[in-house]
């Protein structure tokens, strides 16, 4: 009897234990608090919006912006080694010496492929979300797909210009078994694919986003340019057509952009006069027949620097087409500072995370003969003493931050003082407060703006023309000249425009091309364009001579290409990263970079 009682008790106990076990499946399900899992994601439009923002945000990473600069500008004739780069940034230094090793961190492309895969994922998931969320309409889905296709194409466009052939795919990789080990696809194939992708989605893209004040805290009117618009796609296409050699298409998309800008001017600024005009609004339209381009550069003597502020300082200027918006403040950590720019170009801040320890200058600096005094007329690019772009791009004065530092894209504001019309050379105020960008360092990174497109259009005209002297060619060259001249003229302060009009007579197409290249470099210096321009011309020629003749050999001391000075087209592109090759058996190193490696060391005991 007593035993029975105990057995019952133990049975009950066992039951309790078993019960505990039965509910264990639930016990092991915990909802995480700091991440969202796929179980409750991809349900509504907001999820898509947040992922889209994530794409832009990852384009703001230091890795990404650095590569825009390093791939697009660094190897060009504009850039020289800056402060402490030899000791503090080995990879950058090696790249500056043209010693491109597969171990160099700038051969890593992960930051671009991260964006590509995010775009792929959103393109895959947008229709799925649309099915769950009726407020996410079909046209929205299309617009999302267009936007993501544009970002993906832009990333591929960067990659092929840097590496020539790269792995190309459009499928999203979300789980282990979707991981791909792709070989590289060819430059031409990828270019063709991304052009046709963009042409396909162009019509779906949003032309203008609704403007809300919240969108741009402390920024000016045009937040439209912070996301891909239809015109952003046009600008990309225009650029790509120049690489694929489709001149008419390039001209037509450029015209589309210019027409839209003219319409915008009419809508937003024609009514603004006098004191009602916002300080950063464009002043006036260019005279006919180019009434589609607004003058941005301020033309009064006192403060020609306002235009600088509008384009490069505050950002989101009227003439911008696509730029990444940085908006950092120490009180709001959710925004991003453009660390990449600060480190490479110099931030006016000795903060180590914003640049080399030597305060004020970046790891990169300007080629000496671009810094040289305009009065001496020895400057390689800026021939006109009053070319404001010189003062906007470069810090020439000898001041505590050193000489000849890059200012475009990093300085917040310049004061151009002195009487621009007088014999005095306007100089840039060197008060440190003008450069102290502090921790709130947030210059935007401009990818396309109107003058870029105008010069691309001019290039298309010139390429369309032939060396033969005939009426068609003359007309094409005129059209090109007018565009280049317009860009040139608006940058020269008003008092001196008349001098600028005495541009040399450009009789031949070859001279015109040189003039265009110089103008492009003056206008877009340090904006990540110059090296790609050189490579584009070289590809068109099928030989690297144009690079060799432009990049001074003095720049490349001790580097791999230096001895022979860009001996082949292959030398214009970067090697694949060593680590990448290790994990991707289908990707093989380019021939010219093959023998550098430490292959085949066996160190058995």
């Amino acid at each position: 009897m007593r035993h029975l009682y105990i057995y019952i008790k133990s049975a009950a106990l066992a039951a309790v234990v078993a019960l505990g076990a039965a509910s264990c499946a639930d016990f092991l399900e915990i909802e995480p608090r700091d991440i969202v899992t796929e179980d409750n994601f991809w349900n509504e439009k907001a999820d898509i919006d947040q992922m889209v923002a994530g794409c832009y945000a990852s384009m703001q990473s230091e890795d990404f912006i650095n590569r825009c600069i390093v791939w697009g500008e660094l190897r060009s004739d504009n850039i020289y080694p800056g402060a402490n780069v030899e000791n503090e940034h080995y990879d950058l230094y090696q790249a500056l010496r043209e010693n491109l090793l597969s171990t160099n961190q700038f051969t890593k492309w992960a930051s671009f492929y991260t964006v590509i895969n995010k775009c792929n994922t959103i393109i895959r998931m947008a229709p799925v979300v649309s099915e769950k969320d009726p407020s996410y309409r079909e046209s929205d889905v299309k617009a999302t797909i267009a936007e993501m296709t544009a970002l993906r194409s832009l990333c591929y466009f960067y990659l092929i210009r840097a590496f020539e052939d790269v792995p190309f795919y459009r499928e999203s990789v979300q789980q282990e078994d979707e991981v791909q080990y792709l070989p590289a696809s060819s430059f031409d194939y990828i270019l063709k694919e991304i052009i046709s992708d963009l042409e396909g989605v162009k019509g779906d893209a949003i032309a203008r986003y609704p403007i809300t004040n919240q969108d741009n805290i402390g920024k000016s009117y045009n937040s439209n340019c912070n996301r891909i618009t239809r015109y952003g796609i046009d600008a990309m296409l225009c650029d790509m057509y120049l690489w694929s050699g489709e001149w008419d298409k390039a001209i037509s998309v450029a015209e589309e952009i210019l027409a839209a800008k003219a319409a915008d001017f009419k809508e937003f600024y024609s009514e603004q006069t006098g004191s009602s005009r916002s300080s950063d609004a464009p002043r006036e339209m260019a005279p006919a027949p180019y009434g589609r381009v607004a003058y941005l550069y301020e033309n009064t003597r006192q403060s020609p620097s306002l235009s600088f502020d509008a384009i490069f300082g505050t950002g989101n200027s009227f003439e911008s087409i696509f730029e990444l918006s940085f908006n950092y403040s120490s009180s709001n950590k959710n925004y991003v500072k453009s660390t990449g720019l600060g480190r490479l170009y110099g931030s006016g801040n000795s903060d180590k995370d914003l640049g080399p320890t030597n305060q004020g200058s970046g790891f990169l600096t300007v080629r000496p003969d671009i810094v040289s005094d305009l009065k001496q007329k020895t400057n390689a690019y800026f021939q006109h003493v009053y070319d404001l772009r010189y003062y906007n791009s470069i810090q020439p004065a000898n001041n505590e931050f050193g000489e000849g530092t890059i200012r475009k894209g990093v300085a917040q504001r310049f004061n151009i003082q002195g009487n621009a019309g007088s014999a005095d050379i306007p100089f840039i105020n060197t008060e440190s407060s003008n450069f102290t960008l502090d921790r709130e360092f947030d210059r935007n990174w401009i990818i396309y703006r109107v003058t870029d497109v105008m010069l691309m259009e001019a290039e298309a005209y010139l390429q369309k023309a032939t060396d033969e002297v005939n009426e068609t060619n003359t007309e094409l060259m005129h059209k090109a000249f007018d565009l280049i001249y317009l860009v040139n003229r608006r940058a020269i302060s008003e008092e001196n425009r008349k001098i600028a009009t005495n541009a040399p007579a450009l009789a031949t197409r070859a001279l015109m091309i040189t003039f265009l290249m110089q103008e492009r470099n003056r206008e877009l210096m340090f904006e990540g364009k110059r090296w790609f321009d050189l490579v584009r011309y070289a590809r068109r020629d099928g030989k690297p001579d144009i690079v060799r003749s432009n990049v001074p050999s003095s720049k490349t001391v001790g580097g791999s290409s230096a001895n022979n000075g860009f001996p082949s087209m292959a030398h214009l592109f970067w090697p694949y990263n060593k680590e990448e090759l290790k994990v991707n058996p289908n990707l093989s190193q380019k021939m010219i970079y093959k023998n550098e490696a430490t292959e085949g060391i066996e160190m058995n005991k």
């Binding site: 234990v17 016990f27 945000a57 171990t103 492309w109 918006s325 903060d351 990448e580 991707n584 160190m603």
Partner: protein, 1125 residues
């Protein structure tokens, strides 16, 4: 309602009527044969011996006792008499007690000595797995702060290495080698205190650096509270810990109360610690001379060395601060003092056992301004409700406050320029210099004589300026850590069936344990010490973390009773649930005005973060032990783990283990050995088991998304992990064979263990995939297999030599482990092998199949080129003219060295002009010229004689895994004196002495070792130290080479202790029960050829042991006293 009332009334009536029918009170007398017994105990006890009511007899032996229930029994007991149990069946008793002495018959006690682990309590001679224990008595009175120090050198196969000599920096432990490549999976053994795992989340931290935390866990157990430590080594032993015990288990049992009058013990230990001398550094004069040379050499230009810091220029405003000879290391070192106070009270009666203890430690470090305060208390209470039910309650609390240094002072002291003064000096009115007593902080700017603002230090010396003045930093900067560790525990034990070995026993044990661990860090750095920029002022940081975990355990243990007592069976089933959560937050502020030290006092917030983590797991354990005649034993256990780290597919891990033991000595045919050779034990015990490891992260099996930076005021989400579809448990299979041999009633004992541990599907974090997939890698991947094989041998002898009052105990143990990687995903292997970069100090990391971890590769160092190339060329040219062979003679006969290429036979190679060819570094035909070696540069052996020092000249230089580790020791007893000594050793392993490399590299402004005074300075110098060359890229003198690879073998006298305990008879007069006095010395000497301070250095990445000039382990001297009342 009405009916309810009716029922209640009915019940009440029934109860009262029943009660009336029963006996409610009894009375009687108790006497023995002669007389009445006053003071005898009379109690009503229930079926399980629980006392319901009790009384004692009065002067006349009478008693009256109210009775609860007549079903109970009456128990009458009195000291010296046999206890009687009587049924309650009458109201008056006349009880006659019988003298116990008369009834006593011989009783044979057959209880077996049992090994208590948190699994089954198995008789020691039937234990079939590999475990080794150490009793607290062995380390009583040593000047140690935590258990690991006591274990060092005591357990075969447990390799314990001090991380550093800093307060609270802990040790790293490896039981039988590392089991995995993953840096995220810890290789440290599991620590179990009283059967409980410390469930504190460390996921904020990289486990590889979380030694502080591990240490905290050990530190939170006061060594005085420890009763016993067991180290479970093989999988058969640890399998009941499943995935937690993959790296072995250290089980700690704390002391509990014992029956008898309360005993009070107080002990005091005073320990003096000091640091051994490190590398001798240059003084100010030698330093400035070195730097001048170092600046001159690369540029061959005296101008570069003309900097104010080195010039001793009296007109300089800071001259007085740059003309000293400061021994920074001496300034930051001090003698540390540690006081350990400890008091405990223990006692108990039939029903209750208790032990309460409290300890207070105060410690000052061997580096200035380091201070540690610790208060710990532990309470253990056992309450026997009756024979069946026992309630156990434990409570432990440890509070630690560690005032650490903000900066690594010793590190700074080793680097800081010795001509700099720690204090500001000024001229008095007579022009004599005097010390203002104010700490000198090198300002960013100073005024020159012309009143201009100028940099106070040359740009080149910015790095020196940024090394904070260590004295000022120690005094004014704050870095405090406070931790609270609270572990309350409640346990219920219920014997469901029989009460003794003669019946079936079934025991239920339920336990709830709570872990509370909170820690707080407060740091601040005052603006007055900031040197590196001129607008950032003081900063402060505060961090807090809360941890809370509940562990619920249900255990059923069954021990059937067989009629044939040759059979013996034990079985246990256990179910355990763990749930816990932790949250943390931190705030960083900067631009604080001076003297404000708190994050709340204003300033700009530069960083704020918070974290939250939650985890749950669930374990089933089944374990059984069977033995026949105690001669053949077999054990089987199975553990099932479920964790949130895996998705539903792989969530459960199954970890079986099987082991057996054959006590050969019990065989009848071994009688001769028992009788003639006095063998008391000879057994073999093979075992096999499987344990596993889960990955260190949750939700790997799902696509997850986390918030990223905003873009245009839009919150962004980013994919945060590539969904892992086929991640598996990492499994570790272990074979173990143990052989026990004991003589003379176990007084002399030998044990040999052979083992093989195979790790399959090793987990590795961040396994690479092509980044063109848009992901940087897989969070985790099962990448390959690894094998650890080895043996352990131990000898223990108790009271071996015995002569009169003298006796001696000795013990020795040896362990050897061989580690081999047997399989590896080829892509991962490629990826692990980081390329050699042509830089000084860059370590070539190689992980190779069929090779162990921890191999060091590099160049062979052959000294320093005596002469420049030009000198060699000139001789060669002269030779051609004169037809002589002078250059070759110089090389062959005089052994002079030139930076020229030599053939394998030692002849130099000429180019087409007849000139010797200059030796080059990393020359590539298509890419530049490579560095050409010059006089004073390091000579590396040109293994392939191609005139080019490159990766093809890299050879294997050594391995960091020791061939033999272990320890030995002895205890000598003489009367009431005791002398104990313990040694530990590690043999045949190599250390990469990066500390020395940095101290002899002469490429920066950092102070260097005195050895660089022997550097090459001019042509012809014969030395092993190359010339001084400022700048890392200017020279290749400190490539990893055998110059910096040293054998780290050592033998250390871990401790030596002398103990005297007073005669209890004598003490009785002073109303004391014990009085012990002792003195001990720790780390008295260390025999080694290693040139660094201490060869005991922890494991580095992929097993390479690297000396990064950690604070060396201090030497300490302790005196102590223990008093018991």
């Amino acid at each position: 309602m009405k009916t309810l009332r009716y029922y209640i009334t009915l019940c009440l009536m029934l109860v009262s009527s029943l009660a009336m029918a029963q006996i409610s009170r009894i009375s009687g007398t108790v006497s023995d044969d002669l007389d009445v017994l006053p003071g005898a105990s009379v109690a009503e006890v229930d079926a399980s011996n629980r006392v319901v009511n009790a009384t004692v007899t009065d002067m006349n032996g009478n008693f009256v006792l109210p009775i609860k229930s007549a079903k109970n029994q009456l128990r009458v007991s009195f000291m010296g008499y046999k206890t009687q149990m009587l049924p309650i069946n009458k109201t008056t008793y006349k009880i006659t007690m019988q003298d116990a002495t008369k009834t006593m018959t011989e009783v044979q006690v057959t209880a077996k000595k049992k090994m208590k682990t948190s699994g089954l309590a198995i008789p020691e001679r039937e234990v079939s797995f590999s475990a080794q224990g150490i009793s607290a008595k062995e380390f009583e009175g040593l000047g140690i702060t935590s258990v690991d120090e006591a274990l060092q050198g005591r357990i075969a196969g447990l390799d314990i290495v001090m991380n550093s000599g800093d307060l609270g920096s802990g040790t790293s432990m490896r039981l039988r080698g590392a089991s995995t490549v993953s840096t995220l999976t810890s290789n440290e053994p599991l620590i179990v205190v009283n059967g409980n795992v410390w469930n504190v989340d460390l996921s904020d931290f990289d486990v590889a650096t979380a030694n502080d935390e591990k240490f905290a866990q050990l530190l939170n157990v006061n060594t005085e509270d420890i009763d016993d430590i067991k180290v479970l080594k093989d999988a058969a032993a640890t399998a009941i810990w499943g995935s937690q015990g993959a790296n072995g288990v250290i089980e700690i049992t704390t002391k509990r109360g014992s029956r008898g009058a309360p005993k009070v013990t107080y002990s005091l230990k005073l320990t003096m610690t000091h640091q051994p001398d490190g590398i001798k550094l240059l003084n100010g004069d030698h330093y400035t001379m070195l730097l001048k040379e170092s600046y001159f050499n690369p540029e061959q230009n005296t101008y570069v060395g003309q900097v104010r810091e080195l010039n001793y220029d009296e007109s300089d405003s800071e001259f007085l601060m740059f003309n000293k000879n400061t021994d920074w290391v001496d300034l930051v070192k001090q003698n540390g003092l540690r006081q350990n106070h400890y008091i405990s009270i223990s006692g108990g009666d039939e029903k209750t056992l208790f032990r309460i203890s409290g300890g207070y430690d105060h410690e000052t470090g061997t580096i200035i301004e380091q201070k540690l305060n610790r208060f710990s208390t532990r309470m253990a209470l056992d309450y026997y409700v009756n024979d069946r039910i026992k309630i156990i309650s434990n409570f432990a609390l440890t509070y630690t406050k560690n005032n650490r240094n903000y900066d690594g002072l010793l590190g700074i002291a080793y680097k800081k320029m010795p001509n700099l003064s720690p204090y500001r000096y000024e001229y008095d009115q007579y022009g004599n210099e005097y010390n203002t007593g104010e700490y000198y902080i090198v300002p960013r700017y100073a005024f020159t004589d012309h009143g201009q603002l100028t940099a106070a230090q040359s740009n080149n010396f910015n790095d020196q300026r940024d090394l904070h003045n260590p004295l000022a930093s120690a005094k004014y900067a704050k870095n405090d850590q406070t931790t609270y560790d609270i572990t309350p525990e409640l346990e219920l034990e219920y014997k469901l069936l029989g009460l003794d070995d003669n019946s079936h026993q079934l025991r239920y044990n339920g336990r709830v344990v709570m872990n509370v661990y909170n820690d707080y860090t407060d740091k601040s750095f005052p603006s007055s010490l900031v040197t590196n920029n001129y607008w950032d002022t003081g900063s402060a940081y505060s961090y807090s973390r809360k941890n809370l975990a509940f562990t619920t355990t249900h255990t059923l243990t069954f021990q059937p009773h067989f009629k044939n007592e040759d059979h013996y069976l034990l079985a246990m089933g256990r179910f355990q649930l763990v749930s816990g959560s932790s949250s943390s937050q931190s705030t960083d502020v900067y631009r604080l005005p001076d003297r404000l030290q708190s994050v709340t006092s204003g300033g700009f917030v530069s960083g704020m973060s918070s974290g939250f983590n939650e985890w749950r797991s669930l374990y089933y354990t089944f374990s059984t032990h069977y033995s026949y005649k105690s001669r053949y034993s077999a054990d089987f256990s199975m553990r099932v783990d479920a964790t949130t780290k895996f998705g539903p597919n792989n969530r459960w891990g199954y970890f079986p283990a099987l082991s057996g033991r054959w006590n050969i000595i019990d065989e009848p045919w071994m009688k001769w050995a028992r009788d003639k050779v006095k063998v008391s034990m000879f057994s073999v015990s093979p075992g096999w088991g499987l344990v596993g490891n889960p990955p260190g992260a949750d939700y790997l099996y799902l696509n997850s998304f986390s918030q990223g930076q905003r873009y245009l005021n839009q919150v962004s989400m980013n994919p945060s992990g590539l969904k892992l579809t086929d991640l598996k448990w990492e499994n570790i299979y272990t074979w173990n064979l143990g052989v026990d041999l004991k003589f003379f009633d176990d007084r002399l004992m030998f044990r040999l263990d052979l083992y093989r541990r195979t790790t399959k599907d090793m987990l590795m974090a961040n396994a690479g995939i092509p980044t063109s997939n848009g992901w940087s890698g897989l969070n985790y991947k099962n990448v390959g297999d690894m094998k650890n094989e080895g043996w352990e041998f131990q000898i223990n002898g108790e009271r071996l030599l015995k002569k009169g009052k003298f006796s001696a105990d000795v013990y020795v143990n040896f362990a050897n482990n061989r580690n081999v990687i047997t399989k590896m995903d080829p892509l991962v292997l490629e990826n692990l092998n980081i390329d050699w970069t042509e830089n000084n100090r860059s370590v070539l990391q190689r992980v190779q199949l069929n090779n162990p971890f921890g191999s060091i590769y590099g160049f062979r160092y052959k000294g320093v080129y005596q002469y420049n190339y030009d000198t060699a060329r000139d001789i060669a040219r002269a030779d051609i003219k004169a037809g002589t062979d002078q250059l070759q003679k110089n090389i062959d006969e005089r052994g002079w060295t030139y930076p020229i290429v030599l053939n394998a036979d030692g002849t130099y190679v000429r180019d087409s002009h007849g000139d010797p060819i200059q030796m080059r570094f990393a020359y590539k035909t298509d890419k530049g010229t490579g560095y050409a070696f010059k006089g004073g540069d390091a000579i590396y052996e040109d293994i392939n004689h191609d005139g080019n020092i490159n990766q093809l000249d890299i050879v294997y230089l050594g391995n960091s895994l020791p061939k033999l580790t272990g320890g030995f020791g002895f205890t000598l007893h003489y009367d009431r004196w005791q002398l104990r000594a313990n040694f530990n050793y590690r043999l045949d392993y190599d250390i990469l002495n990066m500390a020395r490399l940095d101290m002899e590299s002469m490429i920066s402004n950092n102070n260097q070792s005195e050895a660089v005074n022997y550097r090459w300075r001019k042509e012809g110098d014969v030395t092993s130290i190359p010339r001084a060359m400022f700048g890392n890229g200017t020279n290749y003198n400190t490539l990893i080479s055998d110059r910096f690879v040293e054998d780290g073998s050592f033998l250390r006298l871990n401790y030596l202790q002398l103990n005297y305990s007073f005669d209890p008879k004598l003490l009785k007069k002073w109303h004391m029960s014990t009085l012990n006095l002792y003195a001990s010395a720790n780390n008295l000497f260390c025999l080694t050829k290693y040139s660094g301070v201490d060869p005991e250095i922890g494991y580095g990445g992929y097993g390479v042991t690297t000396d990064n000039s950690q604070t060396p382990r201090s030497k300490s001297y302790t005196v102590g006293i223990t008093i018991g009342f």
